[in-house]
């Protein structure tokens, strides 16, 4: 297979949301065929420049995004493509060390204490990684203290908080207060989850409220442009 063929196949597997050999892909028929992970590993082994691989990622996600906007692709298709890129980036990243390829920003994310729900959080993580952000996921049921400690160590640009319960969304205010009192005024704090709202976000001092993962990516892009 030529290098161009490999890159074209990488693009195609992302468009088809075919992560690896065990993944069934877009139509459910791709299991057993090389997925993005196998092809990216081969590409690196064959000496293809990491920058070219990133170009293939971007090109593929442009196609995925367009298909989603046109209604041909649904949310799971978008997610599958983003997951392919996110997972593959973890493989390519070490090859980029010292090169001029940078992540778009560091995003720390957690579901707050008392809440075990993570659907929305996981979609956000996948979409952000696919969009080129570095994401640190603290998981679910995360106490305030852990979030603040990680903010101190990890120094994220952004902090995302998720809650699905009316009883746990109040925890978000405690997190924001603790982060600010610890001196991290510049961290942009995003909140989301079914019971939350823009009014709630404003009340508790969050920077942004987002209804879904797409809004997170859109709003982050405005910060980059402004920056």
């Amino acid at each position: 297979m030529s290098k161009d063929d490999i890159l074209a196949q990488i693009e195609n597997t992302i468009i088809m949301g075919h992560l690896d050999e065990s993944d069934e892909g877009f139509d459910g028929d791709l299991e057993g065929t090389p997925g993005t992970i196998e092809l990216v590993e081969k590409a690196l082994k064959d000496g293809i420049e990491p920058g070219k691989i990133l170009e293939a990622f971007n090109s593929a996600m442009d196609v995925v995004g367009k298909k989603f906007e046109e209604g041909e692709y649904l949310l799971p298709d978008m997610l599958a493509g983003a997951e392919c890129v996110g997972e593959a980036m973890d493989i390519v990243e070490p090859y980029l060390m010292g090169k001029n390829e940078q992540k778009k920003g560091k995003f720390l994310i957690a579901t707050v204490k008392g809440d075990l729900h993570d659907i929305g959080k996981n979609i956000v993580i996948t979409m952000l990684k696919g969009a080129g952000y570095e994401v640190n996921d603290l998981g679910i049921d995360v106490p305030v203290e852990k979030i603040v400690e990680t903010v101190k160590e990890y120094k994220p640009d952004y902090l995302g908080l998720s809650a699905l319960l009316t009883t746990t969304m109040i925890e978000m205010e405690k997190v924001i207060k603790a982060v600010r009192e610890a001196g991290f005024e510049d961290v942009k704090i995003f909140v989301g989850g079914a019971p939350t709202s823009p009014e709630f976000a404003k009340k508790i001092g969050a920077t942004e409220h987002c209804y879904d993962a797409f809004e997170v990516v859109e709003k982050l892009a405005t910060y980059k442009k402004a920056g």
Binding site: F26, L75, P76, A80, L116, A194
Partner: protein, 461 residues
């Protein structure tokens, strides 16, 4: 049963783990695996008659697993209340005054058989249980379901305020799908069962995000989740007064993944969950008429009517959240309570006398009648849409084969052992979405006539 005996449930609550162990369950890697024998024993032991006592005796009733009687009640934990003012609906955040108003309203509605907490009072966690109990005790004489118990140690105080544990019941949202028992909910379940108070064990799986989109897969997982609760409850107290509350809804993956509570795909799955419960011969807490609409509407009336009918026909004994609910449990509305009460009054008697063969015709006729009652002109387009929804509810879209069962089992196993379980289910839903697992029909439109509703509300003040 394979899900329970091979995948198990994630449990962190030490006391719950000990109770599971006491009935032969083993723990490995943070998961409790439950053998079929433990499930069979729990089903055999669990109470088959559960009394719901009211302070006004005529409102008392008993859920009998062997009978087909149905009781309808409110439900929620809505955040907002929607009220009609000068022809428009205005939304406000719910508080204790709203709880009082709703209780007083439902006290007078003929087809509200029990009251489950619709909204929470706006007090801190320390005082929530007692304040809610005080509001309930002062404003309803119907059987009371306080739903949530914020602090298990407050239960004795709550019982004293209410006037006796016989007058109380609760709901435990025990499992966070897939197959993870919530620590706090486990504490509440165990405390309430120890006090011999009725409690519905609830799991609300969402096909496509927290469970397989496949109907077979979702129902299998959901069944495992609720039965795990039965095992725990009867380990705490053999003969526990618990009800099976499986809420298998779907996720709107055609748009944004939000839950679909009242579309034909969910109505079908909710009915099938009720049938599963009845097949075990145990008390069934159903869920119906949680509209996806943001405000009272013709669409809402149609989807709620079908939801009540099919949940009731499936054999649910105690149908929770059956009145007043909008926007996927986020909102309640006094106007909606009145609308729902009127329609329930229209369908209840007819439903009990309708044979399975005549159910489709009855459902269509009931939906048309409900719409007409509120001023909607039912034309051929609306009739076709109602018919299309009913057909979808009856349509089995997949084969219940060994091969399919194995595939769904593996999907559940993979999701439970993955850090991003929801991604497993979402990606696994792609083919099903294209094969039409989620109903995509037309909205039923028409302006509503609120004159009857306004009169009832004016009279209730």
């Amino acid at each position: 049963m394979r899900i329970l005996s091979e995948v198990g449930v994630k449990v962190r609550n030490r006391r719950a783990i000990d109770f599971f162990a006491s009935v032969g369950c083993k723990t490995a890697d943070g998961r409790v695996v439950i053998p079929e024998s433990a499930v069979t024993r729990a089903i055999s032991q669990t109470a088959k008659q559960v009394p719901f006592v009211a302070s006004a005796g005529e409102h008392s009733f008993t859920v009998d697993a062997g009978s087909d009687g149905i009781s309808y009640g409110t439900g929620g934990q809505a955040l907002y209340v929607l009220r009609r003012r000068e022809g428009k609906f205005l939304r406000s955040s719910a508080d204790g005054n709203d709880l009082r108003e709703i209780l007083q309203l439902c006290e007078g509605l003929q087809n509200v058989d029990f009251i489950t907490r619709p909204v929470e009072p706006d007090v801190d966690a320390e005082n929530m249980d007692a304040e809610k109990a005080r509001i309930f005790a002062a404003n309803t004489s119907k059987p009371m379901n306080l739903a949530n118990l914020v602090k298990p140690e407050k239960l004795d105080e709550v019982v004293e305020i209410i006037g006796g544990r016989d007058l109380l019941s609760f709901i435990a949202c025990l499992v966070v799908s897939p197959l993870s028992i919530d620590d706090g909910a486990a504490d509440k379940l165990m405390t309430i069962v120890e006090h011999d108070i009725p409690i519905s064990i609830s799991s609300c799986a969402q096909g496509g995000t927290t469970a397989p989109l496949s109907e077979l897969g979702e129902l299998s997982q959901l069944n495992a989740e609720v039965l795990a609760g039965f095992v725990l409850a009867n380990a705490v107290k053999p003969g526990a007064k618990v009800l099976y509350r499986g809420i298998p809804i779907t996720s709107d993956l055609m748009k944004d993944g939000s839950p679909r509570w009242c579309q034909p795909d969910s109505i079908r799955r909710l009915a099938l969950a009720a049938r599963m419960s009845r097949s075990y011969g145990i008390p069934c807490c159903g869920t119906a008429a949680v509209s996806d609409e943001k405000e009272p509407s013709a669409q809402g009336i149609a989807e709620k009517t079908l939801s009540w009918i099919f949940e009731g026909a499936a054999g649910a004994h105690y149908i929770n959240s059956a009145l007043g609910m909008l926007e996927q449990v986020l909102t309640v509305s006094p106007e909606q309570y009145v609308i729902d009460d009127i329609i329930l009054g229209q369908i209840k008697e007819g439903l009990s006398g309708t044979s399975p063969e005549d159910l489709q015709v009855f459902a269509a006729a009931s939906a048309e009648r409900a719409l007409s009652t509120f001023g909607v002109k039912v034309d051929d387009d609306i009739r076709r849409e109602i018919g299309s929804r009913i057909d979808f509810i009856y349509d089995k879209k997949e084969q219940y084969t060994e091969e399919n069962a194995e595939k769904q089992f593996e999907a559940v196993r993979k999701a439970c052992t993955s850090s991003m379980g929801s991604n497993v289910f979402m990606k696994g839903s792609r083919r099903g979405l294209r094969e039409g697992v989620l109903y995509q029909g037309k909205r039923i439109e028409g302006d509503l006539d609120f004159s009857v509703v306004d009169a009832v509300l004016a009279g209730s003040k």
